[in-house]
């Protein structure tokens, strides 16, 4: 696929916004000051003003309804800058879940709030250290939810939790007020210095959605596709920084970029990054078009992007040598985020496994 003019404009403006207001240095600062909220509030406000929080919210609910390609373009720049906001949690996962499975009242309550940045939502899916949404453990009985979730991104700053649990009709999402009784939230700082939380539910009041299963499916599909775009952007950025270093660092009296072994590895990495990017965009587009193979493409894209981002991080550190191992230098942040983003909503193996299952082997 190729971007249309509207999408190209979006990409250009988001690229400027993120580079200006959400660079890697902000992530470092948030970490160093052990920021309580753990995300870049001025950037988030700027994104609200730019309408980006409503990118998946239909116009009738106050959003711009730009679709997943649009969300992916935002995520790509987030990946390039390691910008820290609840964009994935709220504008993608929350908006996708509510749009797909919310009742009219739930949509009317939450979608405008998400679009206008008045509310942040967080998705709680994983009962264990590995993402296994086919075997959700948390349960809802008589309108109350019990169970424990981890890797709840932005869980400690959320105004609404979307929690995957088993109910009378199988697994689906439920709405839980984080401030309600029976909800215990423990913020867990992750290697990538992003917000995550462990959340316990002990008979916490839970509100059913109109179609909680559809909401869960939609959130996972959208989240994986958008993460694929974020990780592709991350990989591209690491690659470009590494390429620049190859053209500037001298050893043995010559630029290290003149060493053929590094040249070939750089060439391989550039191809992998290009494939990861192209596939992510195709998957996002397939979702927007409602294409038959959208699920396969999304799983493939997430699997590929997770691998490529990690490879880019590894090669980035290795080619930078000692300096790449230092905290002072930014490249390590990308490596950490590559792994954390790769793990989120299903790692490369999980996605490949589901992909294989969809293809019948």
């Amino acid at each position: 696929m190729k971007l249309n003019d509207e999408q190209q404009m979006l990409q250009d403006s988001v690229a400027r916004l993120m580079a200006d207001k959400g660079p890697v240095s902000h992530l470092r600062q948030l970490r160093d000051e052990n920021n309580e909220k753990g995300y870049d509030e001025p950037l988030w406000q700027a994104m609200v003003e730019a309408g980006l929080t409503g990118i998946l919210v239909p116009e009738e609910h106050g959003g711009i309804g730009f679709g997943l390609v649009g969300a992916g373009l935002v995520a790509r720049e987030i990946g390039r800058n390691l910008s820290v906001t609840p964009f994935l949690s709220s504008a993608v996962l929350g908006a996708a879940a509510l749009s797909a499975g919310g009742s009219d009242a739930q949509k009317a309550e939450w979608l405008p709030a998400i679009a206008e940045g008045r509310a942040i939502t967080a998705l709680a899916v994983d009962d264990g250290a590995k993402h296994r949404p086919e075997a959700i453990q948390a349960r809802v009985e008589n309108g109350t939810l019990s169970g424990a979730k981890l890797l709840v991104l932005d869980g400690h700053v959320a105004d609404l939790l979307l929690v995957a649990a088993q109910g009378d009709n199988g697994a689906g999402l439920y709405l839980v007020d984080p401030n309600a009784g029976g909800v215990t939230i423990e913020r867990t700082r992750m290697a990538d210095d992003r917000n995550a939380a462990r959340v316990r539910f002990d008979n916490a009041p839970a509100e059913a959605m109109a179609d909680g299963a559809a909401a869960l499916d939609a959130a996972l599909r959208a989240g994986r596709a958008v993460l694929a775009a974020e990780l592709s952007g991350l990989a591209l950025e690491v690659f470009e920084r590494t390429l620049a270093y190859l053209k500037e660092r001298k050893q043995f009296g010559r630029l290290i970029g003149t060493f053929q072994a590094l040249q070939h590895r750089a060439a391989l990495l550039s191809g992998e990054v290009a494939m990861s990017e192209a596939l992510a965009m195709q998957a996002l587009d397939a979702c927007d078009r409602g294409a038959e193979d959208a699920d396969q493409l999304v799983l493939a894209a997430k699997s590929k992007a997770a691998k490529v981002a990690l490879l880019a991080g590894q090669e980035g550190v290795q080619m930078h040598g000692g300096i790449g191992m230092t905290d002072e230098f930014d490249i390590g942040f990308f490596l950490k985020r590559a792994r954390a983003g790769g793990e989120t909503l299903g790692d490369a193996n999980y996605c490949a496994d589901r992909f294989a299952a969809l293809r019948g082997y």
Binding site: K2, K247, H264, G271, A274, M275, S276, A278, M281, A356
Partner: protein, 394 residues
Amino acid sequence: MSDLEPFRAETRAWLEANCPEEMRQPMKSQSEHCWGGRKWEFQSEAQKVWLERMADKGWTAPQWPKEYGGGGLTPEEAAILDEEMKRINARTPVSNFGFWMLGPALLKFGSEELKRQHLPPICRGEIRWCQGYSEPNAGSDLASLQTRAEDKGDHFLVNGQKIWTSYADKADWIFCLVRTDPNATKHNGISFVLFDMESEGVTTRPIELISGESPFCETFFDDVKVDKDQVVGELNRGWDVAKYLLTHERNNIGGEPPGFLKGRALGPLAAEYVGTENGKLADTALRADIARLEIDQIAFTALVGKIRAEAEAGQGVGAQSAVLKYYGTELNKRRYEVMMDALGAEGLEWDSERTMGGLYAREWLRSKGNSIEGGTSEVMLGIVSKRLLGLPDA
């Protein structure tokens, strides 16, 4: 797009009326492909009729100008023709290096006379071409070629040896890189010339590959006379033509490979041989390998689509073709390795009927050449790192 609907309807009707039933059956093997040429013996009346009818429409080369025997179609129309042919499984009526390589070169660099002389016979499937590029000491380093063409006033005298000349023993004419100025620097002094393979002094010797096939030849030129008007592009500027064609050739790689694996999903194939447990392939490592390979293929296909879309939007393909060549061929090799893992002992039989004459092993072995011919993988990575990434020379 809707203004193309009449064209689609006409095309569909014409194909329905004119494509013989036999030419709508999938080819059992590549040997059923129609190469054309003076020596061609049609394998069926249907093959002959189909070629004639398509050639009359100019649809053997849909996008070439009508005055040279082509169909004069726009890219959009050509895409529709392609879709409609695929819809009824219509075979390609004829194809050879004349279509893939020489035609594009002549259209870009050739004189009006050369175009009028050579393009129509290609379109009609009357002349089959081969390519004379590589030499024993000029493989990856193609520009160091030594075959020379001496200016003898009214003609050139060509002496030297080519290798990897595809089907030189079956071709009628050759397009050939020769050194016309031995004193010029390496990339200069090369010309792109055309001559008849029946010329005196031309001999060919097929090379047997490890797969048992002989699609390539060694080709020897001993005082071969070549007309001086058979130079494509400028004298001594043949390298430009060659580079253009190499890029063009690489750009054509990236689709699905022909052969046994064409359109065949590896998962179900593997399931036949390794069995399943709870619906998953019983060989867990093979399952992981297939999934990872298929994901990489889908990613590659996405990239091909993106690059082509950009190319059509006028940004051109250029050195990107090296990316496509590299990954396309490496993925194809991986596909065959995984296929062999799945097929086990049966994949290794060399000439049994149940393996269609050892088709699996032979195609597996043949795939190893993909990353050598048309520019090695190493050369491709070099092009990517220098021309796309701008990495400096030592």
